[in-house]
């Protein structure tokens, strides 16, 4: 355990040594801190409507101003961070699980199934992301579910392909057939031979997908097709601001700023992770 801790510590030191990595870590910490302690940090209830205070510019009481319903934007931004972060973590975790399972099926299963799955993955990748999202909204209706399904459909093909390639490579490798002849189950082979080889690149890819997922959630909520009001979401705030952009520009600024901070932070962090730990992935 202490070895793992010291490994983690070393990794963090290497990331912080890069200017881009340090900047990324700072932005991510800022964002995660705000989301986790949203209850304590928020100066007001994020959904409390107060018509008397509508369209107020930034001030001491309302750090980022108020929107068209008089809601405190600073508090909404903090709570919006919770939504963004939990959607990102949940849907990426789900994509990873599904991707690993489908990748194993494609790699271990019969040849025709492999070909069929690759075809479906290619077809899914052929949709421009937003078009896929818009099509799915017709099926699920504007909701958080739609957002999660879009993210899963966008990410799973990539993850599954990595697992599949690795599985195919290992299937022919000597030591797996040795393990199989000794009666090792698929789970054991997966845990002992396949996952250790792909977990690094997979996690780095997943971490680089976090900003993409946050952008998808915010984008769909901006279009009014994601998180439903009155739940605070950065995309929804941006949309409120867009509607009133001529007279009260601070609402749009308040909605866009956290999206910029978070996507920049996670991207800088992911890039540094990749450069430091797996330069091979750079070819992507």
């Amino acid at each position: 355990m202490s070895e793992a801790v010291s490994k983690l510590y070393k990794a963090l030191r290497r990331i912080l040594a890069e200017p881009m990595g340090a900047f990324g870590v700072a932005l991510v910490v800022l964002m995660v801190f705000g989301a986790v302690f949203a209850d304590i940090l928020a100066t007001a209830e994020p959904s409390d409507i107060s018509p008397r205070d509508r369209f107020q510019g930034p001030s001491i009481t309302h750090l980022l101003g108020t929107d068209h319903l008089g809601r405190d934007l600073f508090s909404r931004v903090l709570h919006g961070g919770r939504i963004a972060l939990s959607v990102a973590l949940f849907s990426i975790a789900a994509s990873l699980v599904i991707g690993v399972v489908l990748g194993l099926i494609a790699g271990y299963g019969p040849r025709w199934l492999d070909n069929l799955m690759i075809l479906v993955f290619d077809a899914l990748k052929s949709f421009p992301t937003v078009m896929l999202a818009l099509a799915l909204v017709t099926l699920f209706g504007p909701s958080l579910t739609a957002v999660v399904v879009v993210v899963i459909l966008v990410n799973v093909p990539g993850y599954a392909r990595i697992i599949r390639t690795q599985t195919l490579a290992l299937k022919s490798a000597q030591f797996v057939s040795a393990a199989q002849s000794m009666g090792a189950g698929t789970t054991r082979i997966l845990r002992a031979h396949i996952l250790p080889n792909v977990i690094g690149p997979l996690l780095i890819l997943a971490s680089m997908d976090i900003p993409v997922v946050i952008a998808i959630e915010a984008g769909m909520s901006f279009l009014g097709l994601g998180v439903r009001p009155p739940t605070p979401s950065w995309g929804a705030i941006l949309n409120d601001g867009f509607a009133a952009i001529r007279d009260t520009p601070w609402i749009a600024v308040a909605g866009g700023l956290p999206i910029i901070v978070t996507t920049l932070g996670f991207t800088f962090l992911g890039e540094t992770l990749r450069d430091v730990f797996d330069p091979r992935l750079k070819v992507r």
Binding site: P128, M131, T138, A218, G219, L223, I260, L264, F268
Partner: protein, 314 residues
């Protein structure tokens, strides 16, 4: 070359078919009776039944798919619900606006991205290289709709340099181009960063090649070596990726059209979703996806034509 093209084309046809199957399944799964949606609440049961038969909804599902499939390949995507016009016509009417937007984005990204990548590769590790490197990552990371709104806020609302909404006067090309500047920047900015990074990496690799050493040993001017001997090779891999880039720009274009209130396929789909005009949604999604697949196909074949090594090998 011919063999390769035929293979790529065949694969593209299969993928388009799978895309059609996926879209059909999705529409089929939408809860509610399409005939009832189309006719509205005041229709009688008999009218709904008649329309169901006319739309083929009484047939078994696999026949329905077959009909959809055959019609779609012939360019018939059914009629949209509101005005009963053919979906294909409505989409094709809006497509030029979206294509203009993407072309604009492409121009921004090529005009800025390739020179930036080239310049940073000539002096790697310098301060300019580092700043442009971080900026590139930045513009890639920030979602295009945030860029669109901030661009609108800064250049159209605050500074009033450029118009905020619409596609411009339909007869006035200059006006249309002026209206295109901001939205196409929002669409293309991310790819400025992508191209800059891609061209830089690929330039660094090419500049190490032994034929570049030969060119230097012949005393050729550095400008000629950089632009003619190295860059022409370094941009080849980017051509394949331009296809991917256009796909991402299609996505960004949806937002740009909504933010800048421009006509286009993105706006069309968005409005269709709000009015539950599902045949229009699936039709427009299908058209843009096929377009995307076709562009990727073309990009791959163009690389074959540009690179004499590939050209003769295929």
């Amino acid at each position: 070359m011919l063999n390769y093209s035929v293979k790529r084309l065949g694969l593209a046809v299969i993928i388009v078919s799978v895309v059609m199957l996926l879209l059909f399944t999705m529409i089929y799964l939408i809860p509610g009776d399409p005939a009832a949606v189309a006719l509205g609440p005041r229709a009688t049961d008999a009218m709904r039944e008649a329309l169901r038969v006319k739309m083929g909804l009484d047939q078994p599902i696999w026949i329905q798919f077959w009909n959809f499939f055959i019609n779609a390949w012939q360019g018939d995507l059914g009629n949209e619900v509101l005005s009963d016009r053919p979906v294909t016509d409505v989409v094709l009417e809006q497509l030029p606006f979206t294509l203009a937007l993407i072309a604009g984005g492409m121009i921004w990204s090529i005009a800025l991205g390739i020179p930036l990548g080239c310049w940073t590769a000539i002096q790697p590790g310098g301060i300019v290289d580092r700043i442009i490197g971080i900026l590139s990552v930045g513009v890639i990371a920030v979602p295009s709709f945030v860029i669109a709104i901030y661009a609108l806020l800064i250049f159209a609302v605050s500074l009033r340099w450029l118009p905020a909404i619409g596609a411009g006067d339909s007869g006035d090309i200059i006006d249309q181009i002026i209206h295109l500047i901001l939205p196409s920047l929002a669409v293309g900015l991310g790819w400025v960063g992508y191209l800059a990074r891609l061209v830089r990496a690929s330039m660094l690799e090419v500049l190490e090649a032994s034929h570049i050493r030969t060119a230097r040993a012949f005393g050729l001017p550095e400008r000629l070596i950089t632009y003619r001997y190295a860059l022409t090779i370094a941009i080849l891999p980017t051509v394949t990726l331009l296809g991917v880039g256009i796909g991402q720009m299609l996505s960004s274009a949806v937002f740009a059209e909504i933010v800048f209130a421009r006509p286009g396929v993105g706006k069309l789909v968005y409005d269709a979703i709000l009015t539950r005009n599902y045949p229009l949604v699936s039709g427009a999604v299908l058209v843009t996806t096929v377009l995307f697949i076709a562009i990727n196909l073309i990009a791959d074949l163009v690389v074959g034509v540009l690179d004499p090594r590939v050209r003769s090998r295929l």
